[in-house]
C-alpha cells in the first residue's frame, strides 16, 4: 500500500471519529442540562407568617402550628406544609421558643407527648426534649428553631420564612 492510501484511510477514520464526537457533544451537553436543570434552579421568597396568638398559648405547653407555602415545581404549584411548636417560657410576650416539627434525621414530623414530656418521631423512634435537644435516637442535631420571630401589640406571633 502506498503512503498516500494509508493516510487516506487514516483520514477517513479520523473524520468518522470526529463527526461522531461532535454529534455526541452536540447532543450530550443539552441532554445533561435537560436532565439536571431542576436541580440547579434557585428561588427564594421571604415572608412573615402568622402562626397564632399568645392568648391561645399556655406557658410551658408546646403550642402546635402549621402553615403552608406554595412552591412552583415545573408546571405545578404545590403547597407544602410546615409546622412547629411555640413554647412560652414565661408570661413575657417575647420569651418564646419556636421549634420546627421536622425531625432532623430524615424529615418526618414529630409529635409532642404530654405524658412523657418529649417530642417523639415515629419514623426511627427519635426523641427530643422541651428545648428541642436530642434525647435518643439517630437525629444528628436538635430540632431547628425559628429564631426570626416577632410579637405584635395584639399578641400575634409571626415567624420569618425564607425559601430556597
Amino acid at each position: 500500500m502506498s503512503p498516500k492510501e494509508m493516510s487516506r484511510r487514516d483520514f477517513i477514520k479520523l473524520t468518522t471519529a470526529a463527526t461522531g464526537g461532535v454529534m455526541g457533544v452536540a447532543l450530550g451537553v443539552p441532554i445533561v442540562a435537560y436532565l439536571i436543570h431542576p436541580a440547579l434552579r434557585e428561588g427564594s421568597k421571604e415572608d412573615w407568617i402568622n402562626i397564632g396568638n399568645l392568648k391561645d398559648m399556655e406557658v410551658g405547653k408546646p403550642f402546635p402550628f402549621t402553615f403552608t407555602r406554595t412552591r412552583i415545581n415545573g408546571w405545578e404549584r404545590t403547597s407544602s406544609s410546615f409546622g412547629g411548636f411555640v413554647i412560652r417560657k414565661s408570661e413575657t410576650p417575647e420569651d418564646l421558643l419556636i421549634l420546627s416539627s421536622r425531625c432532623t434525621h430524615l424529615a418526618c414530623r414529630v409529635h409532642w407527648v404530654d405524658e412523657s414530656g418529649v417530642f417523639n418521631c415515629p419514623c426511627h423512634d427519635a426523641q427530643f426534649g422541651r428545648e428541642g435537644e436530642v434525647l435518643n435516637g439517630p437525629p444528628p442535631r436538635p430540632l431547628d428553631r425559628y429564631t426570626d420571630f416577632k410579637v405584635d401589640a395584639e399578641g400575634n406571633v409571626s415567624i420569618f420564612i425564607e425559601e430556597g
Binding site: A39, G74, L106
Partner: protein, 227 residues
C-alpha cells in the same frame, strides 16, 4: 399421503428461511451447545431473565391505562384494579413479580458466589451481573413511587433524603432525583421515565452482554474437591 405433502412443504419453507436467516447456524451456536451437568440451581439465571420479560410485558400493558401525574396516578391505578378486565391480574403480577425478581436475582448472585463461578474466565460476567442487580433495585425504587399513595410518597421522600446524605454532592443528587427540592409532579414524571425507558434500556443492554458472555464461556460446572 397428507403427512408426506405437509412434510415436503414444511421442509421447503424451512429451507427457504434457513438460507436467509441462518437458522441452522443459530441452532448450532446457541441451542445445540454442550453444557456441564447442571442442577436446579442453574435455572436461577434464566428465571431472572424470565421475570425481566414478564415485568416488561405486564409493565407495558399497565402503561395503556396508567397516567404518571399526581392528579391521575392514583385514580388510574384504581381504574386498573376495579374497572379494567383482568387489570387486577396484570397489576398483581407486576407487583409480586417485582418482589420475586429481587429475590431470584439475589439468590442467583448467592449461588454464583457459592460455586465461585465468578472466577476465571467469568469475571466480567460477574461484574455485569452486579450491575444488573443494582439496576433491578433501581427499578424497584423508581417503580415504588408510581402508585402515588402514602406509602410510595413518604418512602421516596426518605429514600431521596438518604441519597442526599452523600457528603458535598448530596444536595445536588437529591435535587436531581426529585427534580427540585421537593417531591412533586416532576419527581413522579422522571421516575416514570427512568422506570419505563432508561433503566430497562440499560438492563436490556447489560442482559445482552451477560448472555453473550454466558454463551461464550458456557455455564460453569459445579466445583469438585479438586477445584
Amino acid at each position: 399421503m397428507h403427512s408426506i405433502l405437509r412434510s415436503t412443504l414444511w421442509k421447503k419453507v424451512y429451507d427457504w428461511l434457513d438460507e436467509r436467516l441462518g437458522l441452522q447456524n443459530l441452532y448450532a451456536a446457541v441451542l445445540d451447545r454442550p453444557e456441564p451437568l447442571g442442577n436446579w440451581w442453574n435455572t436461577l439465571g434464566s428465571a431472572s431473565a424470565f421475570l425481566f420479560l414478564l415485568q416488561g410485558a405486564t409493565g407495558i400493558f399497565l402503561t395503556v391505562y396508567y397516567t404518571p401525574s399526581p392528579d391521575h396516578a392514583y385514580d388510574s391505578i384504581q381504574y386498573i384494579m376495579e374497572g379494567v378486565a383482568f387489570g387486577w391480574l396484570i397489576r398483581g403480577i407486576h407487583h409480586w413479580g417485582a418482589t420475586l425478581m429481587v429475590l431470584v436475582v439475589f439468590i442467583h448472585m448467592l449461588r454464583v458466589f457459592a460455586t465461585a463461578s465468578f472466577k476465571y474466565p467469568r469475571e466480567l460476567t460477574w461484574i455485569v451481573g452486579i450491575g444488573l442487580l443494582l439496576l433491578t433495585l433501581g427499578m424497584g425504587f423508581t417503580g415504588y413511587l408510581l402508585p402515588w399513595n402514602q406509602r410510595a410518597f413518604w418512602a421516596t421522600t426518605v429514600g431521596t433524603e438518604i441519597a442526599g446524605s452523600v457528603p458535598f454532592i448530596g444536595d445536588f443528587i437529591l435535587k436531581a432525583l426529585r427534580g427540585g427540592p421537593d417531591l412533586s409532579a416532576l419527581t413522579l414524571q422522571r421516575f416514570f421515565a427512568a422506570h419505563i425507558w432508561m433503566l430497562p434500556a440499560l438492563m436490556a443492554a447489560l442482559i445482552g452482554v451477560h448472555l453473550y458472555l454466558v454463551v461464550r464461556h458456557g455455564e460453569s460446572a459445579h466445583p469438585d474437591p479438586e477445584d
